[in-house]
Amino acid sequence: MSSDTRSSSAAALAVPVTGRAGAEPKATSRWLRGHVPGEAGIWIFILGDMTLYIFLFAGFMHDRMKEVDVFNQSAATLHINTGGINTLLLLVSSILVVFGVRALREKIKKQYAPLFFALAFLCGAGFVVNKYIEYSDLVMKGFTPYWNMFYLWYYVLTGIHLTHLLGGMWVLIYLFRVAQKAQREEITIRGVESGASFWHCVDLLWVVLFPLLYLMR
């Protein structure tokens, strides 16, 4: 793995305020040693997103504490199997993205990189279709966000996650196009790593949301 295919983010991190071009990584302290995937700023975005979710988890659990039975009964009406399939879909899409990034970064089977991102996109699309089926089924049964607090939180949590997922699908399109471009010319891997990290964040949040909403009794 040659170091010039790595992002220059370590350098950017060591000298955050001055220019980026040509700055050599001077960081040798424990705090800064290591490779920051993508660029430093994307981690503010990702961690900032995750911070929102901590507050959402706390808010959900706080409201659950006040009416545990209502929450348990309502959770029983959710489609656990669809939720499980969605989890598997996102995990599969994540490993595909990992393969795609490795293909581009370490130049192993580079020609398959666009395919990996396209397949990950399809997994994401599958998630969206599942969500649509779930939501429409619940709404037809009368379980709208106005029915009770559980459903309100359910739609809020999964809805915000869904917008992140849709944003992530845009990112996958971008990754697909960069992967296509990489077949012909050299690319910097920083944007690819940043985008991939965002997609993994979407996966990470769902992996926690699934037990929280569907399986908690």
């Binding site: 950017a12 955050p16 305020v17 001055t18 220019g19 980026r20 071009a21 660029e39 430093a40 700023g41 994307i42 503010i44 975005f45 900032g48 997103d49 929102l52 507050f55 959402l56 808010g59 409201d63 966000p145 106005y146 607090m149 309100l152 939180w153 809020v156 915000i160 944003g167």
Partner: protein, 244 residues
Amino acid sequence: MNLKQTHIWTAYTGWIFTAGFLIAVCPLLAWTIPPHHGPSFTALQVKQFYMEHLNRIRAGAFIGMIASAFYYSWGAAIAAMLRRVENGRPPILTYTQLGAVGVGVFNSVLYFFWMAYCAFRADTMDPVMLQSLNDFQYILLEFEVFPLSLWALAIGFCILMDQSERPVFPRWVAWVNFWFSGLVMTGQFMIFFRVGPMAWNGLLAVYWPAFVFFFWICAMSTFMIIALKKEIGVVPNADTQRYL
């Protein structure tokens, strides 16, 4: 007194706006962030709140109105600092920012204006009417967020495009702007709900956007002050070679 010093003063207006806004809305005065009550309060309860806190609410509105003025110099300063990034091309993103500054300030000014308006004759007003006018304040504060999102997007793009030797803002600040842009919008759905986290006293309508908003202002103000003190973006001999 010179221009550099004056510009540094405008950079501090962000802090003045923040401090003034927070003092105005805190529980000691207007008590709107964190909100004293929610949409589920009855009209009589709302009237009682106003009766018990009348002059405090008025004082809050007064301080807030003065603080709001400092918002536009801050916004103008950011746009001016980032204008150099669009050098050579039409300054579209700069103008977008300036337009958004207008909306943001309008938002803030009208909010405190309305607060004052509610408190003006609250003692003799019909409770139902007072409740409705009170709702207006919160809807204004929390529902008009998307214009700010676009503002931050324009700033973020300008920062990312800054390829100069000494960029005005560090690159990662663009991502703070993108984070703000995407996540301050959770309050946009408050119009659909009167209970829960999306109600106008809820987690997603008040607390989270307030946190994101003030983090953003603090980050941008800090780096603007640093950049102005280092005279980033200033042409050499700017003070001696004046226009005639």
